[in-house]
Each structure stands twice: as C-alpha cells, then as structure tokens.
C-alpha cells in the first residue's frame, strides 16, 4: 500500500479503535485490522502525533500493579474521522477510474 495512503488509513483505524471505550497500546494493535500491519513501533509515533494534534487524550492508570496508558478520542478526533470518511467517495471514484482504465487496456 502506498505510504501516504497507508498513513491516512492507519490514523483512521487508530482513531476508530479508541472511539468507543478508551483503549491501550496492545489492545489497539489487536483491534486494528491485521492487513494494516500495525505494530507497536508504528503505533507509538502515531499516538504521539494524534495526542499532539488534540485528536486523542491519554491518561495513566494502574493495572496489575503497573501503570498502563489509556487513550480516548476527542471531539477533534471525531471530526478527523468524519473528514477521512468524507474523502471516501473520491477514493472510490479514483479506484473505479483506475480499474476501468486498466481493464480497457487489457
């Protein structure tokens, strides 16, 4: 998958993963579709970026005698998801065009 497109999809997936109840790193890795290939090393910078952009909030809470960091989506994050979803029709249009052109060429 093209890097920039994958980055956008990953961002949407991570926001979606924390859009219901708050979640934590490993749970997010498990929740995001495996096809995205999300790992902790990809997730960490992404979470920092989203937190800095005000799309998610983070808090530390005790879990089994250690601290675990929980993330939750903010209103800005919901707006970001809505923006990404609004782009979907144009992505579909591009897909149809490329597919049609590819099919005609064969």
């Amino acid at each position: 998958m093209e890097a920039q497109m994958k980055r956008g999809f990953l961002e949407a997936c991570v926001l979606a993963a924390v859009s219901g109840e708050e979640s934590y790193g490993y749970q997010i890795v498990k929740d995001v579709p495996a096809s995205m290939g999300l790992t902790e090393s990809t997730l960490y910078p992404l979470l920092k970026r989203l937190e800095k952009a005000g799309c998610i909030t983070a808090r530390s809470a005790e879990h089994n005698g250690r601290l675990r960091r929980y993330y939750r989506i903010t209103e800005t994050g919901h707006e970001r998801i809505a923006e990404l979803l609004a782009e979907w029709p144009s992505v579909q249009e591009i897909y149809r065009y490329v597919k049609g052109a590819h099919h005609d060429a064969r």
């Binding site: 902790e40 090393s41 960490y44 910078p45 800095k52």
Partner: protein, 210 residues
C-alpha cells in the same frame, strides 16, 4: 533478548533525544511487552514482537523535524562523527544557515511592509480629508461659496476613501497576519515540527481507576 536488555539498548539508541522523551518511549514499550506477556507470550516472544531495535529507534526518530533528525541519526552513529561533520562542514552550513535566516526574515518583513503600505495609503487619504475640511473653514471665513463647496466635497470624499481604505487595510492586516504566521511555521519546519495544529484541549484527562 530480555525486556530489560531491549529497553536499555533502546535508551542507548535514543540517547540523542531529551531524557524525558527517552523515558516515555521506554515506558510505552515496557507496557507493550508486559501486555503481550499477560496475553500468554514468553518474555522473548514479547520482545521479538516489538520488531528490531533499529526499526523501533528509527520509527521514533522519524517523528523529528528534518534537521534535528539528521543530527540525531549522525549522533547515534558516533558523537565524534557529528562533531567532525559540524566542524569540517562549517564553511558550508554556517553561510547556508545565515542565508536561510536572512531570506526567512526578509520575506517576513516584506509581508508586513505590504500591510504598512495599505495603512499609509489610508492615513494619507484621511490627512487629505482633514486638510480639505480645514480649507472649507477657510472658505467660510473668506465667504467664497464655490471654494467652500469644492473643499468640503474633496474633504468628505477623501475621508470616505480613507475609511474604505482603512477597512481594507484592517482586513488585509488580518490576512497578512495569517500569512506571516504560515510563513514563520514553514520557515521553522526543518527545525521544529508542529503536527498538532489543533489545540491540546483535554490532553491530560483526570485520572480514573482502571
């Protein structure tokens, strides 16, 4: 590799970053390893699932702006190499840096000079309007009606244009303020990355129990 070995080595690889950033990164990976072990993995498996140390360090450094990233990567390879490059390359990078600062400052000043020009035009019309009204007063004193009417007309027209130009200058100034902020952001982007374009509202939520 054990969890502690992984985290210590990661700390060494990220030594070029501020200490609190390194600690925060280590805590994230310590938590991820602990969560995977809770999920049934062995310590070695959980550490291996994080990816190679090089990948993990690179992913963290990738978030830095261009210039600090280049410095961090060079420093990671060797601090001596960084100093050697900084000293040997100084005849190149110092003039380049000065030129960059000069260009950035010049563009910034030019943007604001534009706004100043519009305000000067507005002020000039305002001044002309006041003078026109003063001439009107003179005309009244000498009792010359056509002169009074002409001066009054010119005075009011000038004041009207000044008000319009002032309103335009105010709008232009606001636009230019946005433009200059955008330029300042672009100028510092190689050194300082600000992806957080929205406010950090609620960045730290109140602690709750797990």
């Amino acid at each position: 590799m054990t969890r502690d070995e992984f985290l210590n080595r990661l700390g060494e690889l990220l030594a070029c970053l501020p200490a609190d950033q390194v600690r925060e990164t280590q805590e994230f990976y310590a938590e991820a390893i602990a969560d995977r072990m809770e999920d049934g993995m062995t310590e070695a498996e959980a550490v291996a699932a994080m990816g190679t140390l090089g990948e993990v360090a690179e992913a963290t450094l990738d978030e830095l702006p261009a210039v600090p990233r280049a410095i961090a990567r060079t420093k990671r390879k060797s601090t001596a190499l960084l100093w050697a490059l900084a000293i040997v390359g100084s005849p190149v990078w110092i003039p380049l840096l000065l030129a960059f600062v000069a260009v950035a400052a010049t563009v910034y000043i030019c943007i604001w000079v534009l706004a100043l020009c519009v305000w000067i035009v507005a002020a000039a019309f305002g001044g002309a309007g006041v003078v026109g009204l003063l001439f009107t007063a003179d005309g009244i004193i000498i009792g010359h009606v056509p002169y009074v009417l002409t001066s009054m007309g010119m005075g009011f027209v000038s004041i009207g244009v000044a008000l319009l130009a002032g309103a335009g200058a105010w709008t232009a100034s606001k636009q230019i303020a946005c433009l200059s902020a955008l330029w300042a952001k672009k100028a510092v982007s190689p050194f300082w990355k600000d992806r957080g374009n929205k406010s950090r509202r609620g960045a730290e939520a109140a602690p709750l129990t797990a």
